[in-house]
Point group: C2
Chain length 165, copies 2
């Protein structure tokens, strides 16, 4: 996999859907959305983004790399928190513009920077909304670590305070 | 839920992450990515997008509506194929810029327009790529319906041939 162009250009619709050439489609910002689920429980842990380099590194190393949109840089999951993700399986979808990772937690089982196992710790109730809008309900919201401690420590060591991972 | 502004503007980081007010963040194109998983098996079925209206209708009706980027219009899942999605649970993530739907298939259990149960029917092998790039491997790729028949029929009825749903 060369450093310059790790993946070929997107193919025709038919080739993209029924072929075996991996030619992922990145959006206008050069990103592709990635769903990470727990290989153990199937739970959706997070939705994040990869650029070409993050995708190439993830494939090569079997460790999850993402592109941080807020920080504008490549990010190895767990580089600060220590809680990285080992990729058990990677899949792409019909039009090759989305990625699904089944991952195994390395370290504390908490994919969310708030310290929770999953970023999806609030349910949106269904049905006609009562006056005042939709009110979220916390579910599976227990923290596995204290983000104040984990990220303050990591930030202090590098002279920067990170708002999120 | 008013027709004009179904959701409040996004809140501060703290309120967005730890509050109960549902104030989803739409991207520059007015969309939010949505992961749909099977309520029965946990499998990731598809990654699609919702605009404000699609999200509001999904919440109100408990049926999955999406925004079709290729067709530039609101789309009730299954409006042509007959294979719609009943929402069992909806969740949002820490920064409220992604949605997770647990769905139950109504009709044939096939979320993908290619006729397959899931859009993620190909695995991306991990490890250093051999010369010639990454070659996808078909998994869970059995078709539940014939897309030629289903969409030709639906397209013919409306005088248009649809390339995908």
């Amino acid at each position: 996999m060369s450093k310059e162009a790790p993946f070929p250009d997107p193919k025709s619709k038919a080739e993209s859907e029924e072929g075996t050439v991996f030619a992922p489609k990145f959006d206008a910002e050069g990103l592709v959305p990635v769903v990470a689920t727990s290989a153990a429980t199937g739970e959706v842990l997070m939705l994040a983004y990869m650029n070409e380099e993050a995708l190439a590194r993830t494939i090569e190393t079997g460790e999850a790399y993402y592109w941080s949109r807020s920080r504008g840089r490549l990010w190895r999951k767990g580089e600060e928190s220590g809680n990285s993700q080992r990729v058990v399986e990677m899949r792409t979808d019909c039009d090759q513009d989305a990625i699904w990772l089944k991952v195994e937690a390395v370290g504390i089982d908490a994919a969310c920077h708030t310290g929770r196992r999953s970023c999806f710790y609030r349910a949106v109730p269904l049905g006609p909304a009562p006056g005042g809008g939709v009110s979220l309900r916390f579910v599976d919201a227990e923290r596995q670590f204290d983000p104040e401690t984990v990220y303050r420590h990591a930030g202090a060591a590098k002279g920067t305070l990170k708002s999120s991972e």
